[in-house]
């Protein structure tokens, strides 16, 4: 019996060592007539409406860009934020449209398009802000405070960078958990500006910290630049999409999508001013 077990493990090890599949090209997508996209459940960056269609900054822009490329159908999958990159690598979908921040770590795993949006940070607290928080660094000052973040989101890096300890951090699975968490287990919820403002609109007993000072990391206030993620091997599809996206960013239709989800004129300008190569290099 032990021998059988050994053979089984050996076969498994052999299987894991084998190679992957080939790249997805623009022609393949065009002849299929549709493309498979993914988003995370995060209002307003990307989410599934109750009728099952995708909406949000990422999906809306992606649909418009693919239309310009002659691909009229995007099949959407909603997956937890932390599984966007694993799902992309496992070829579950062709791209991720969740306005993921273009960071050097993520650039090692996937290829990002030019930025599609930019956004600052935010904090959600109990009504009246009883702990008088104004920025992430305030949480580091008092070790008894707890702060919640969504699994896989980069807010945790900013929290750590300003000195918040790991035992102060509560990991939650989705933004929808933030409301009950802030009212019970945590003193604050750290997320992007827009996410926090959407949650504050919906919850009666919570509010967004205002005025909020963006955390300062490496001597400058942090700002996120969200882009679309593709697999590095699907270069052909990526190039075509990226080119169409840069063109689309110059149009009024593009601005209309972003402003309709609450993004400011400055944030739209800031996104266009940065390029993906610098962001991946950590500049």
């Amino acid at each position: 019996m032990h021998k059988t077990l050994c053979y089984g493990i050996a076969a498994l090890a052999l299987a894991v060592g084998m190679g992957g599949a080939s790249a997805l090209t623009l022609d393949e997508v065009k002849s299929a007539g549709y493309v498979q996209g993914a988003t995370a459940n995060e209002v307003p960056y990307g989410y599934m409406k109750e009728d099952g269609t995708a909406a949000g900054i990422g999906p809306d822009v992606a649909i418009a860009v693919f239309k310009r490329m002659g691909i009229n159908e995007v099949n959407w999958t909603v997956t937890p934020f932390g599984t966007l990159i694993p799902g992309l690598k496992a070829r579950r979908f062709a791209f991720a449209a969740a306005e993921q921040n273009i960071s050097p770590e993520r650039c090692k795993q996937v290829t990002f398009t030019e930025p599609n949006s930019s956004y600052g940070e935010g904090l959600l607290v109990k009504k009246g802000n009883p702990k008088k928080l104004t920025t992430y660094a305030d949480i580091a000052k008092d070790p008894s405070l707890k702060v919640a973040v969504v699994s896989g989101a980069n807010n945790i890096d900013f929290l750590r960078a300003v000195g918040v300890k790991d035992n102060q951090i509560i990991i939650i699975q989705a933004n929808a958990d933030a409301l009950s968490t802030v009212q019970t287990r945590a003193d604050a919820y750290a997320a992007t500006e827009l996410t926090v403002s959407k949650l504050a609109e919906g919850g009666k007993d919570v509010e967004q910290v205002k005025p909020f000072t963006d955390p300062v990391v490496n001597g400058k206030p942090v700002r996120n630049y969200g882009g679309f993620a593709f697999r590095p091997e699907d270069k052909d599809l990526y190039d075509a999409f990226n080119k169409a996206l840069v063109e689309f960013r110059k149009t009024d239709d593009y601005k209309k999508i972003l402003t309709s989800y609450g993004l400011s004129e400055e944030s739209i300008k800031a996104a266009a001013a940065k390029n993906v190569a610098d962001l991946c290099a950590g500049k």
């Binding site: 997956t79 690598k89 496992a90 579950r92 919850g203």
Partner: protein, 221 residues
């Protein structure tokens, strides 16, 4: 949005949950018999394979199995769509637990009956299918009923591999409405109603089996 408006997406999710649950219970049942019988076979290779399979699937968490089949296996070029992955993983898990139920019930048949069968020169397979199994299968039913309901509840995990089941729809609704209390209450009710149906189906099968020709009604009362 009121709770009435939550029902349409939740019912859509419930359909997927029912499909995945019934498919994996049926498939898991078949696997349970194959693996359970192989496990008590006198052939060491057959029983070794069954032992390894049961040990692997009973000894690892379903969530990790799902992630492994969904996110890790495609990296080596083997990929199934989400529904297939979900049904396959759940069947394999339920089959592993079911195999032990099958094995236990078959071993519970008194050895004197095997001796009698051998004395009458019945073949091994005739003894299994006509002597042991008809008695053992009824003993398996309460445990299978448990497994079926456990399987239904385990289907909630497939929402994490992007299948739009009942739990997935509940999460999406919460994300839009931020109304956790109502959404989760309705979701619990949904699972409970499906579970009641499953209990009913399993009872029905058990009753049918008890009334088989080989069984006088008072034999197991």
């Amino acid at each position: 949005m009121t709770w009435i408006q939550y029902l349409a997406p939740l019912l859509k999710g419930a359909q997927i949950t029912i499909v995945i649950s019934l498919a994996s219970i049926a498939l898991g049942g078949i696997i349970a018999f194959v693996a359970g019988i192989a496990r008590i076979s006198s052939n060491p290779i057959l029983s070794g394979i069954a032992f390894t399979y049961i040990a692997l699937f009973r000894g690892t968490p379903l969530l990790v199995q799902l992630f492994w089949f969904y996110y890790a296996l495609p990296l080596i070029g083997i990929s199934f769509d989400p529904i297939t992955t979900g049904i396959m993983t759940l069947s394999l898990l339920t089959g592993a637990f079911g195999a032990e139920v099958v094995r236990g019930a078959l071993l519970a048949v008194p050895p004197a009956q095997h001796e009698a069968a051998r004395a009458l020169n019945f073949s091994k397979s005739y003894t299994l299918w006509h002597i042991s199994m008809p008695q053992a299968i009824i003993e398996m039913m309460p445990a299978f009923g448990n497994l079926a309901i456990q399987n239904l509840k385990d289907t909630a995990l497939v929402s994490l591999i992007s299948i739009a089941d009942l739990t997935f729809q509940a999460q999406s609704l919460r994300n839009i409405t931020l109304d956790s209390a109502t959404v989760y209450t309705l979701t619990l009710l949904g699972y409970f109603i499906i579970a009641l149906f499953l209990m009913f189906i399993m009872r029905f099968i058990e009753m049918k089996l008890r009334r088989g020709a080989a069984f006088p009604r008072d034999a197991h009362s």
